[in-house]
Protein backbone atom coordinates (compact mmCIF):
# COMPACT_ATOMS: atom_id res chain seq x y z
CA UNK A 1 0.00 0.00 0.00
CA UNK A 2 1.80 3.12 -1.15
CA UNK A 3 2.26 5.68 1.57
CA UNK A 4 0.08 8.69 0.82
CA UNK A 5 2.02 11.90 1.50
CA UNK A 6 -0.17 13.90 3.88
CA UNK A 7 1.26 17.39 3.82
CA UNK A 8 1.66 18.81 7.31
CA UNK A 9 -1.67 20.13 8.57
CA UNK A 10 -0.88 23.56 9.93
CA UNK A 11 -2.16 23.87 13.45
CA UNK A 12 -3.98 27.21 13.87
CA UNK A 13 -4.33 28.52 17.39
CA UNK A 14 -7.78 29.23 18.89
CA UNK A 15 -9.63 26.47 17.06
CA UNK A 16 -9.50 28.32 13.75
CA UNK A 17 -9.66 26.38 10.54
CA UNK A 18 -8.63 27.29 7.03
CA UNK A 19 -11.53 26.45 4.74
CA UNK A 20 -10.70 26.39 1.04
CA UNK A 21 -13.73 27.40 -1.01
CA UNK A 22 -11.75 25.94 -3.82
CA UNK A 23 -11.92 25.45 -7.56
CA UNK A 24 -14.10 22.39 -7.01
CA UNK A 25 -17.03 24.12 -5.21
CA UNK A 26 -20.58 25.08 -6.20
CA UNK A 27 -20.04 28.82 -5.86
CA UNK A 28 -16.39 29.47 -6.62
CA UNK A 29 -15.31 29.97 -10.17
CA UNK A 30 -11.95 28.76 -11.41
CA UNK A 31 -10.08 29.78 -8.28
CA UNK A 32 -9.83 29.30 -4.55
CA UNK A 33 -10.98 31.54 -1.74
CA UNK A 34 -9.04 30.50 1.37
CA UNK A 35 -11.05 31.60 4.41
CA UNK A 36 -9.61 31.46 7.93
CA UNK A 37 -12.63 31.12 10.16
CA UNK A 38 -13.81 29.49 13.37
CA UNK A 39 -17.06 28.40 11.69
CA UNK A 40 -18.85 31.71 11.93
CA UNK A 41 -16.55 34.73 12.08
CA UNK A 42 -14.09 35.24 9.21
CA UNK A 43 -10.67 36.52 10.19
CA UNK A 44 -8.74 36.46 6.93
CA UNK A 45 -9.59 35.91 3.26
CA UNK A 46 -6.91 35.09 0.70
CA UNK A 47 -7.88 34.65 -2.94
CA UNK A 48 -5.66 32.19 -4.84
CA UNK A 49 -5.94 32.92 -8.56
CA UNK A 50 -3.90 31.49 -11.40
CA UNK A 51 -5.84 28.33 -12.17
CA UNK A 52 -6.65 29.60 -15.66
CA UNK A 53 -3.56 31.69 -16.40
CA UNK A 54 -2.96 31.46 -20.15
CA UNK A 55 -0.29 34.14 -20.43
CA UNK A 56 -2.35 36.24 -22.84
CA UNK A 57 0.12 39.12 -22.52
CA UNK A 58 2.88 36.86 -23.86
CA UNK A 59 0.66 35.47 -26.64
CA UNK A 60 -0.15 39.00 -27.80
CA UNK A 61 3.54 39.72 -28.27
CA UNK A 62 3.61 37.07 -31.03
CA UNK A 63 0.40 38.05 -32.82
CA UNK A 64 -0.11 40.94 -35.24
CA UNK A 65 -2.42 43.72 -34.06
CA UNK A 66 -5.44 42.35 -35.93
CA UNK A 67 -4.82 38.76 -34.80
CA UNK A 68 -4.37 39.91 -31.19
CA UNK A 69 -8.09 40.64 -30.92
CA UNK A 70 -9.04 36.94 -30.74
CA UNK A 71 -6.81 35.77 -27.84
CA UNK A 72 -7.50 39.10 -26.11
CA UNK A 73 -11.22 38.29 -26.08
CA UNK A 74 -10.56 35.00 -24.33
CA UNK A 75 -9.57 37.02 -21.28
CA UNK A 76 -13.16 37.53 -20.12
CA UNK A 77 -15.87 35.40 -21.65
CA UNK A 78 -18.92 37.46 -20.82
CA UNK A 79 -17.68 40.86 -21.83
CA UNK A 80 -15.56 40.26 -24.93
CA UNK A 81 -16.46 43.42 -26.86
CA UNK A 82 -15.14 45.71 -24.10
CA UNK A 83 -11.74 43.97 -24.03
CA UNK A 84 -11.69 44.18 -27.81
CA UNK A 85 -12.61 47.88 -27.69
CA UNK A 86 -9.84 48.72 -25.20
CA UNK A 87 -7.19 47.07 -27.41
CA UNK A 88 -8.56 48.66 -30.59
CA UNK A 89 -8.78 52.07 -28.91
CA UNK A 90 -5.11 51.86 -27.92
CA UNK A 91 -4.09 50.90 -31.49
CA UNK A 92 -6.19 53.70 -33.00
CA UNK A 93 -4.71 56.23 -30.59
CA UNK A 94 -1.19 55.21 -31.63
CA UNK A 95 -2.13 55.28 -35.31
CA UNK A 96 -3.88 58.61 -34.83
CA UNK A 97 -6.93 57.56 -36.86
CA UNK A 98 -10.66 57.77 -35.99
CA UNK A 99 -13.28 55.17 -36.91
CA UNK A 100 -16.12 56.57 -39.09
CA UNK A 101 -19.21 57.77 -37.10
CA UNK A 102 -21.43 54.90 -38.22
CA UNK A 103 -18.86 52.39 -36.92
CA UNK A 104 -18.74 54.29 -33.61
CA UNK A 105 -22.52 53.93 -33.20
CA UNK A 106 -22.46 50.23 -34.08
CA UNK A 107 -19.65 49.77 -31.55
CA UNK A 108 -21.70 51.53 -28.86
CA UNK A 109 -24.67 49.22 -29.51
CA UNK A 110 -22.48 46.12 -29.21
CA UNK A 111 -20.77 47.39 -26.05
CA UNK A 112 -24.04 48.21 -24.31
CA UNK A 113 -25.70 44.93 -25.28
CA UNK A 114 -22.64 43.12 -23.97
CA UNK A 115 -22.95 45.06 -20.70
CA UNK A 116 -26.54 43.89 -20.29
CA UNK A 117 -25.57 40.27 -21.03
CA UNK A 118 -22.79 40.46 -18.43
CA UNK A 119 -24.82 42.30 -15.77
CA UNK A 120 -27.74 39.86 -15.97
CA UNK A 121 -25.35 36.98 -15.30
CA UNK A 122 -23.78 38.88 -12.40
CA UNK A 123 -27.16 39.60 -10.79
CA UNK A 124 -28.24 36.00 -11.29
CA UNK A 125 -25.14 34.78 -9.44
CA UNK A 126 -25.62 37.33 -6.67
CA UNK A 127 -29.17 35.98 -6.18
CA UNK A 128 -27.95 32.38 -6.33
CA UNK A 129 -25.36 33.00 -3.63
CA UNK A 130 -28.07 34.11 -1.21
CA UNK A 131 -30.77 31.57 -2.05
CA UNK A 132 -30.87 27.82 -2.82
CA UNK A 133 -31.64 27.99 -6.55
CA UNK A 134 -33.84 31.06 -7.00
CA UNK A 135 -36.07 31.44 -10.02
CA UNK A 136 -34.46 34.88 -10.46
CA UNK A 137 -31.19 33.24 -11.52
CA UNK A 138 -32.93 31.35 -14.32
CA UNK A 139 -35.06 34.31 -15.39
CA UNK A 140 -31.95 36.39 -16.01
CA UNK A 141 -30.32 33.57 -17.99
CA UNK A 142 -33.44 33.27 -20.10
CA UNK A 143 -34.13 36.97 -20.52
CA UNK A 144 -30.77 37.83 -22.02
CA UNK A 145 -31.44 35.37 -24.82
CA UNK A 146 -32.94 38.07 -27.15
CA UNK A 147 -29.68 40.04 -26.90
CA UNK A 148 -27.60 36.94 -27.65
CA UNK A 149 -29.79 36.32 -30.69
CA UNK A 150 -29.30 39.94 -31.82
CA UNK A 151 -25.55 39.56 -31.44
CA UNK A 152 -25.54 36.33 -33.41
CA UNK A 153 -27.56 38.08 -36.14
CA UNK A 154 -25.16 41.05 -36.25
CA UNK A 155 -21.76 39.45 -35.74
CA UNK A 156 -22.29 35.72 -36.28
CA UNK A 157 -21.22 34.59 -32.81
CA UNK A 158 -22.99 34.59 -29.46
CA UNK A 159 -20.19 35.90 -27.29
CA UNK A 160 -16.72 36.06 -28.86
CA UNK A 161 -17.62 38.53 -31.59
CA UNK A 162 -14.13 39.75 -32.77
CA UNK A 163 -16.30 42.32 -34.53
CA UNK A 164 -14.52 45.55 -33.51
CA UNK A 165 -11.27 45.85 -35.49
CA UNK A 166 -8.77 48.72 -35.74
CA UNK A 167 -10.36 51.22 -38.09
CA UNK A 168 -14.03 50.36 -37.57
CA UNK A 169 -16.32 47.33 -37.59
CA UNK A 170 -16.25 44.19 -39.71
CA UNK A 171 -19.77 44.36 -41.20
CA UNK A 172 -22.85 46.56 -41.35
CA UNK A 173 -26.18 46.09 -39.54
CA UNK A 174 -28.29 43.36 -41.17
CA UNK A 175 -31.76 44.36 -42.42
CA UNK A 176 -34.50 44.23 -39.78
CA UNK A 177 -31.99 44.56 -36.95
CA UNK A 178 -33.43 47.84 -35.68
CA UNK A 179 -37.03 46.59 -35.31
CA UNK A 180 -35.91 43.42 -33.56
CA UNK A 181 -33.63 45.37 -31.25
CA UNK A 182 -36.41 47.78 -30.28
CA UNK A 183 -38.66 44.80 -29.49
CA UNK A 184 -35.94 43.23 -27.36
CA UNK A 185 -35.46 46.53 -25.49
CA UNK A 186 -39.18 46.83 -24.80
CA UNK A 187 -39.27 43.24 -23.53
CA UNK A 188 -36.22 43.62 -21.30
CA UNK A 189 -37.36 46.94 -19.81
CA UNK A 190 -40.59 45.29 -18.63
CA UNK A 191 -38.56 42.34 -17.29
CA UNK A 192 -36.32 44.68 -15.28
CA UNK A 193 -39.41 46.01 -13.48
CA UNK A 194 -40.29 42.39 -12.62
CA UNK A 195 -36.75 41.88 -11.27
CA UNK A 196 -37.13 44.97 -9.07
CA UNK A 197 -40.43 43.74 -7.61
CA UNK A 198 -39.61 40.06 -7.27
CA UNK A 199 -36.04 40.15 -6.03
CA UNK A 200 -34.47 43.50 -5.30
CA UNK A 201 -37.40 44.47 -3.08
CA UNK A 202 -37.59 40.95 -1.68
CA UNK A 203 -37.46 41.28 2.11
CA UNK A 204 -35.14 38.31 2.63
CA UNK A 205 -32.73 39.35 -0.12
CA UNK A 206 -32.42 42.77 1.49
CA UNK A 207 -31.88 41.23 4.93
CA UNK A 208 -29.01 39.18 3.48
CA UNK A 209 -27.32 41.95 1.52
CA UNK A 210 -27.99 45.31 3.17
CA UNK A 211 -25.16 46.40 5.43
CA UNK A 212 -22.98 43.47 4.39
CA UNK A 213 -19.41 44.25 3.31
CA UNK A 214 -19.72 48.04 3.46
CA UNK A 215 -16.86 49.80 1.65
CA UNK A 216 -16.60 53.56 2.38
CA UNK A 217 -15.75 55.70 -0.66
CA UNK A 218 -12.31 56.63 0.72
CA UNK A 219 -11.36 52.95 1.08
CA UNK A 220 -12.87 52.14 -2.34
CA UNK A 221 -10.56 54.70 -3.96
CA UNK A 222 -7.53 53.67 -1.91
CA UNK A 223 -7.92 49.99 -2.76
CA UNK A 224 -8.51 50.73 -6.44
CA UNK A 225 -12.05 49.33 -6.76
CA UNK A 226 -13.41 49.17 -10.30
CA UNK A 227 -16.70 49.93 -11.99
CA UNK A 228 -19.99 49.23 -10.20
CA UNK A 229 -18.16 48.44 -6.93
CA UNK A 230 -16.71 51.96 -6.98
CA UNK A 231 -19.95 53.66 -7.96
CA UNK A 232 -21.79 51.73 -5.25
CA UNK A 233 -19.63 53.48 -2.67
CA UNK A 234 -20.64 56.92 -3.91
CA UNK A 235 -17.69 57.74 -6.20
CA UNK A 236 -18.88 59.31 -9.50
CA UNK A 237 -16.35 57.58 -11.73
CA UNK A 238 -17.39 56.31 -15.15
CA UNK A 239 -14.85 56.10 -17.98
CA UNK A 240 -17.66 56.59 -20.50
CA UNK A 241 -18.11 60.09 -19.09
CA UNK A 242 -14.48 60.90 -18.12
CA UNK A 243 -13.00 59.90 -21.47
CA UNK A 244 -15.83 59.43 -24.01
CA UNK A 245 -14.97 56.82 -26.62
CA UNK A 246 -17.06 55.21 -29.39
CA UNK A 247 -20.26 57.32 -29.57
CA UNK A 248 -20.65 58.04 -25.86
CA UNK A 249 -19.73 61.69 -26.43
CA UNK A 250 -22.86 62.35 -28.49
CA UNK A 251 -25.31 60.32 -26.37
CA UNK A 252 -26.63 61.69 -23.08
CA UNK A 253 -26.97 59.21 -20.23
CA UNK A 254 -26.68 59.33 -16.46
CA UNK A 255 -24.21 57.49 -14.20
CA UNK A 256 -25.80 55.08 -11.72
CA UNK A 257 -24.39 55.94 -8.28
CA UNK A 258 -25.35 54.56 -4.89
CA UNK A 259 -23.95 55.70 -1.57
CA UNK A 260 -24.48 52.72 0.76
CA UNK A 261 -21.45 50.78 -0.50
CA UNK A 262 -22.81 47.39 0.60
CA UNK A 263 -23.66 44.26 -1.38
CA UNK A 264 -27.22 45.51 -2.03
CA UNK A 265 -25.94 48.81 -3.43
CA UNK A 266 -23.65 46.97 -5.84
CA UNK A 267 -26.61 44.94 -7.10
CA UNK A 268 -28.80 48.05 -7.35
CA UNK A 269 -26.11 49.91 -9.34
CA UNK A 270 -26.00 47.05 -11.82
CA UNK A 271 -29.76 47.06 -12.33
CA UNK A 272 -29.80 50.85 -12.85
CA UNK A 273 -26.94 50.52 -15.32
CA UNK A 274 -29.05 48.08 -17.30
CA UNK A 275 -31.86 50.61 -17.50
CA UNK A 276 -29.33 53.19 -18.73
CA UNK A 277 -27.85 50.77 -21.26
CA UNK A 278 -31.32 50.21 -22.71
CA UNK A 279 -31.71 53.97 -23.18
CA UNK A 280 -28.27 54.24 -24.81
CA UNK A 281 -29.04 51.45 -27.29
CA UNK A 282 -32.38 53.08 -28.12
CA UNK A 283 -30.73 56.46 -28.74
CA UNK A 284 -27.95 54.91 -30.79
CA UNK A 285 -30.47 53.03 -32.94
CA UNK A 286 -32.64 56.11 -33.45
CA UNK A 287 -29.98 58.54 -34.73
CA UNK A 288 -27.65 56.07 -36.43
CA UNK A 289 -25.64 58.02 -39.04
CA UNK A 290 -25.04 56.54 -42.49
CA UNK A 291 -21.66 56.24 -44.16
CA UNK A 292 -18.72 53.87 -44.32
CA UNK A 293 -18.13 51.36 -41.55
CA UNK A 294 -14.40 50.82 -41.93
CA UNK A 295 -11.23 52.77 -42.62
CA UNK A 296 -8.28 50.72 -43.90
CA UNK A 297 -5.43 50.68 -41.47
CA UNK A 298 -1.69 50.13 -42.09
CA UNK A 299 -0.16 46.92 -40.74
CA UNK A 300 2.66 48.65 -38.87
CA UNK A 301 1.92 50.87 -35.88
CA UNK A 302 4.33 53.81 -35.23
CA UNK A 303 6.45 53.32 -32.09
CA UNK A 304 5.11 54.83 -28.86
CA UNK A 305 3.22 53.98 -25.71
CA UNK A 306 -0.40 54.59 -24.82
CA UNK A 307 -2.79 53.75 -21.97
CA UNK A 308 -6.39 53.36 -23.14
CA UNK A 309 -9.32 52.93 -20.74
CA UNK A 310 -12.74 51.44 -21.38
CA UNK A 311 -15.67 51.07 -18.95
CA UNK A 312 -16.30 47.31 -19.13
CA UNK A 313 -19.19 45.64 -17.26
CA UNK A 314 -16.88 44.70 -14.39
CA UNK A 315 -15.14 48.04 -14.23
CA UNK A 316 -12.48 50.13 -15.84
CA UNK A 317 -10.33 48.00 -18.12
CA UNK A 318 -7.02 49.57 -19.12
CA UNK A 319 -4.57 48.48 -21.82
CA UNK A 320 -1.02 49.86 -21.63
CA UNK A 321 0.37 49.27 -25.12
CA UNK A 322 4.04 49.76 -26.00
CA UNK A 323 4.78 49.42 -29.72
CA UNK A 324 8.16 49.37 -31.44
CA UNK A 325 7.06 50.10 -35.02
CA UNK A 326 6.70 46.48 -36.17
CA UNK A 327 3.30 44.87 -36.84
CA UNK A 328 3.41 43.10 -33.44
CA UNK A 329 2.99 44.89 -30.07
CA UNK A 330 6.21 45.06 -27.99
CA UNK A 331 4.43 44.86 -24.62
CA UNK A 332 0.73 44.80 -23.65
CA UNK A 333 -0.15 45.27 -19.99
CA UNK A 334 -3.84 44.62 -19.33
CA UNK A 335 -5.16 46.07 -16.06
CA UNK A 336 -8.16 43.80 -15.52
CA UNK A 337 -11.00 45.04 -13.30
CA UNK A 338 -11.47 41.65 -11.61
CA UNK A 339 -7.77 41.63 -10.61
CA UNK A 340 -8.58 44.72 -8.49
CA UNK A 341 -11.99 43.51 -7.35
CA UNK A 342 -10.49 40.42 -5.75
CA UNK A 343 -8.23 42.69 -3.74
CA UNK A 344 -11.35 44.27 -2.24
CA UNK A 345 -12.50 40.85 -1.04
CA UNK A 346 -9.12 40.30 0.62
CA UNK A 347 -9.11 43.67 2.37
CA UNK A 348 -12.70 43.53 3.66
CA UNK A 349 -12.02 41.52 6.83
CA UNK A 350 -9.55 44.19 7.91
CA UNK A 351 -12.25 46.86 8.21
CA UNK A 352 -15.43 44.92 9.04
CA UNK A 353 -16.41 41.72 10.82
CA UNK A 354 -17.65 39.30 8.17
CA UNK A 355 -19.61 36.09 8.75
CA UNK A 356 -18.66 32.86 7.01
CA UNK A 357 -22.08 32.71 5.34
CA UNK A 358 -21.48 36.17 3.82
CA UNK A 359 -18.30 35.25 1.93
CA UNK A 360 -20.15 33.91 -1.16
CA UNK A 361 -22.54 36.89 -1.12
CA UNK A 362 -19.63 39.35 -1.02
CA UNK A 363 -17.69 37.37 -3.59
CA UNK A 364 -20.65 37.49 -5.98
CA UNK A 365 -21.50 41.12 -5.22
CA UNK A 366 -18.11 42.20 -6.63
CA UNK A 367 -18.92 40.15 -9.75
CA UNK A 368 -15.27 39.14 -10.19
CA UNK A 369 -14.19 36.80 -12.97
CA UNK A 370 -11.26 34.48 -12.35
CA UNK A 371 -10.41 34.36 -16.06
CA UNK A 372 -10.23 38.13 -16.05
CA UNK A 373 -7.88 38.15 -13.09
CA UNK A 374 -5.60 35.38 -14.37
CA UNK A 375 -5.15 36.65 -17.95
Amino acid sequence: MSVIRVEEIEELEGGLMRVRIGPQHPISGQGTIIVTTDGEIVYEIDVDIGYSHRGIEKILENRTYLQGIVPMERMVMLDTSHVDMAYVRAIEELLGIEAPPRAQYIRTIILEMNRIISHTYALGLLAESTGWFPAFFLWTTGDREPFLELMEMLTGARWSYSFIIPGGVRADLPSGFKEKALKAIEYFRERLDVYMDAWMENALFEVRTRGVGVIPSSKAIEWGAAGPNLRASGVRYDTRKNEPYAAYGELDFKIAVETAGDAYARGAVRIQEMYISLDIIQQALENMPSGPIKVNVPQRVPPGEVYSRVESARGELGVYLVSDGTDKPYRVKISAPSFRNFFLLEMLPTIQEIKFADVPVLYMSFDPWFLDADR
Binding site: K58, N62, E222, G224, E305, Y307, G318, Y320
Partner: protein
Protein backbone atom coordinates in the same frame (compact mmCIF):
# COMPACT_ATOMS: atom_id res chain seq x y z
CA UNK B 1 -5.04 72.17 -17.78
CA UNK B 2 -4.04 74.74 -15.18
CA UNK B 3 -3.94 72.09 -12.47
CA UNK B 4 -1.54 69.93 -14.46
CA UNK B 5 1.11 72.58 -15.04
CA UNK B 6 0.84 73.60 -11.39
CA UNK B 7 1.65 69.98 -10.41
CA UNK B 8 4.63 70.10 -12.75
CA UNK B 9 5.88 73.25 -11.05
CA UNK B 10 5.65 71.66 -7.56
CA UNK B 11 7.36 68.44 -8.64
CA UNK B 12 10.21 70.12 -10.55
CA UNK B 13 10.82 72.68 -7.79
CA UNK B 14 10.84 69.99 -5.08
CA UNK B 15 12.76 67.23 -6.86
CA UNK B 16 14.66 69.12 -9.57
CA UNK B 17 16.79 66.83 -11.72
CA UNK B 18 15.43 63.57 -10.30
CA UNK B 19 12.50 63.97 -12.70
CA UNK B 20 14.01 62.97 -16.01
CA UNK B 21 10.95 63.66 -18.11
CA UNK B 22 7.52 65.23 -17.54
CA UNK B 23 5.30 64.87 -20.64
CA UNK B 24 1.64 65.98 -20.79
CA UNK B 25 0.52 63.70 -23.62
CA UNK B 26 -3.13 64.82 -23.69
CA UNK B 27 -5.44 66.69 -21.28
CA UNK B 28 -6.02 63.34 -19.57
CA UNK B 29 -2.52 61.77 -19.61
CA UNK B 30 0.75 62.67 -17.88
CA UNK B 31 3.91 60.56 -18.21
CA UNK B 32 6.55 61.18 -15.51
CA UNK B 33 9.89 59.41 -15.67
CA UNK B 34 11.95 59.57 -12.49
CA UNK B 35 15.16 58.13 -11.12
CA UNK B 36 14.62 54.83 -9.35
CA UNK B 37 16.09 55.94 -5.97
CA UNK B 38 13.60 58.80 -5.61
CA UNK B 39 10.48 56.82 -6.57
CA UNK B 40 9.13 56.50 -3.04
CA UNK B 41 9.37 60.22 -2.16
CA UNK B 42 7.88 61.33 -5.50
CA UNK B 43 5.07 58.84 -5.06
CA UNK B 44 4.21 60.12 -1.57
CA UNK B 45 4.36 63.67 -2.96
CA UNK B 46 1.90 62.66 -5.70
CA UNK B 47 -0.33 61.04 -3.10
CA UNK B 48 -0.36 64.37 -1.27
CA UNK B 49 -1.37 66.02 -4.55
CA UNK B 50 -4.51 63.84 -4.56
CA UNK B 51 -3.31 61.17 -6.97
CA UNK B 52 -5.09 58.57 -4.89
CA UNK B 53 -6.50 55.66 -6.97
CA UNK B 54 -3.97 53.08 -8.24
CA UNK B 55 -5.19 51.60 -11.52
CA UNK B 56 -2.30 49.37 -12.57
CA UNK B 57 1.40 48.66 -12.26
CA UNK B 58 3.82 46.55 -14.28
CA UNK B 59 7.12 46.32 -16.06
CA UNK B 60 8.45 46.50 -19.61
CA UNK B 61 11.60 44.62 -20.59
CA UNK B 62 13.80 46.66 -23.00
CA UNK B 63 16.31 43.92 -23.71
CA UNK B 64 18.21 45.93 -26.30
CA UNK B 65 18.83 48.82 -23.87
CA UNK B 66 19.45 46.33 -21.06
CA UNK B 67 16.93 47.98 -18.72
CA UNK B 68 13.60 47.19 -17.10
CA UNK B 69 11.09 50.00 -17.10
CA UNK B 70 8.69 49.73 -14.14
CA UNK B 71 5.51 51.82 -14.32
CA UNK B 72 2.65 52.67 -11.96
CA UNK B 73 -0.61 54.07 -13.36
CA UNK B 74 -2.49 56.35 -10.96
CA UNK B 75 -5.77 58.22 -11.35
CA UNK B 76 -6.45 61.42 -9.42
CA UNK B 77 -9.97 62.00 -8.17
CA UNK B 78 -9.43 65.78 -8.00
CA UNK B 79 -7.92 66.44 -11.43
CA UNK B 80 -9.58 63.45 -13.14
CA UNK B 81 -6.32 62.66 -14.95
CA UNK B 82 -4.18 59.49 -15.40
CA UNK B 83 -0.50 59.72 -14.44
CA UNK B 84 2.01 57.08 -15.54
CA UNK B 85 4.96 57.07 -13.13
CA UNK B 86 7.95 55.31 -14.74
CA UNK B 87 11.46 54.42 -13.58
CA UNK B 88 14.31 52.53 -15.21
CA UNK B 89 16.33 49.81 -13.44
CA UNK B 90 19.18 47.76 -14.83
CA UNK B 91 18.46 44.22 -15.99
CA UNK B 92 21.09 42.41 -13.96
CA UNK B 93 20.09 43.84 -10.55
CA UNK B 94 16.31 44.45 -10.91
CA UNK B 95 15.48 46.13 -7.62
CA UNK B 96 13.04 48.96 -6.90
CA UNK B 97 11.19 50.32 -3.86
CA UNK B 98 7.67 48.99 -3.52
CA UNK B 99 4.95 51.64 -3.34
CA UNK B 100 2.54 49.42 -1.38
CA UNK B 101 2.28 51.55 1.74
CA UNK B 102 1.53 54.61 -0.42
CA UNK B 103 -1.07 53.04 -2.67
CA UNK B 104 -2.44 49.82 -1.14
CA UNK B 105 -4.07 48.84 -4.43
CA UNK B 106 -0.79 48.13 -6.24
CA UNK B 107 0.09 45.24 -3.93
CA UNK B 108 -1.18 42.49 -6.24
CA UNK B 109 0.15 44.18 -9.39
CA UNK B 110 3.66 44.37 -7.97
CA UNK B 111 3.39 40.78 -6.77
CA UNK B 112 2.47 39.67 -10.31
CA UNK B 113 5.32 41.67 -11.88
CA UNK B 114 7.75 40.17 -9.36
CA UNK B 115 6.58 36.69 -10.30
CA UNK B 116 6.47 37.06 -14.07
CA UNK B 117 9.39 39.42 -14.63
CA UNK B 118 11.67 38.88 -11.67
CA UNK B 119 11.74 42.53 -10.54
CA UNK B 120 12.30 42.54 -6.77
CA UNK B 121 10.10 45.10 -4.98
CA UNK B 122 11.84 46.05 -1.74
CA UNK B 123 9.47 46.30 1.22
CA UNK B 124 6.59 44.37 -0.36
CA UNK B 125 4.71 42.47 2.39
CA UNK B 126 3.59 39.41 0.42
CA UNK B 127 5.89 38.40 -2.44
CA UNK B 128 4.39 34.93 -2.89
CA UNK B 129 3.47 32.75 -5.88
CA UNK B 130 0.35 34.14 -7.59
CA UNK B 131 -0.17 32.95 -11.15
CA UNK B 132 2.48 30.40 -12.05
CA UNK B 133 2.25 26.74 -10.94
CA UNK B 134 3.95 25.80 -7.66
CA UNK B 135 6.64 23.65 -9.26
CA UNK B 136 7.81 26.36 -11.73
CA UNK B 137 11.57 26.65 -11.32
CA UNK B 138 13.02 29.85 -12.66
CA UNK B 139 16.48 28.48 -13.53
CA UNK B 140 15.22 25.97 -16.08
CA UNK B 141 12.36 27.97 -17.60
CA UNK B 142 13.18 31.62 -16.85
CA UNK B 143 10.76 34.49 -16.26
CA UNK B 144 7.84 34.31 -18.76
CA UNK B 145 7.39 38.00 -19.50
CA UNK B 146 11.03 38.67 -20.20
CA UNK B 147 12.04 38.97 -23.83
CA UNK B 148 14.65 36.23 -23.53
CA UNK B 149 11.99 33.70 -22.51
CA UNK B 150 12.01 31.04 -25.22
CA UNK B 151 8.64 29.85 -26.48
CA UNK B 152 10.11 26.89 -28.33
CA UNK B 153 8.82 24.13 -25.97
CA UNK B 154 5.29 25.52 -26.15
CA UNK B 155 5.01 26.31 -29.87
CA UNK B 156 3.22 23.94 -32.21
Amino acid sequence: MEGLSEIKRILIEKFGDNIIEYKIVSPKRIIVKVKSEKVKDIASELKRLDFDMPVSAGGVDYIKKGIFEVFWIIWSSRYNVILILKTEISRDSPEVDSLVNIWKGVQKFERETWELMGINFKGHPKLKRLLLPEDWDYEKEGYPLRKDFSLKPYER
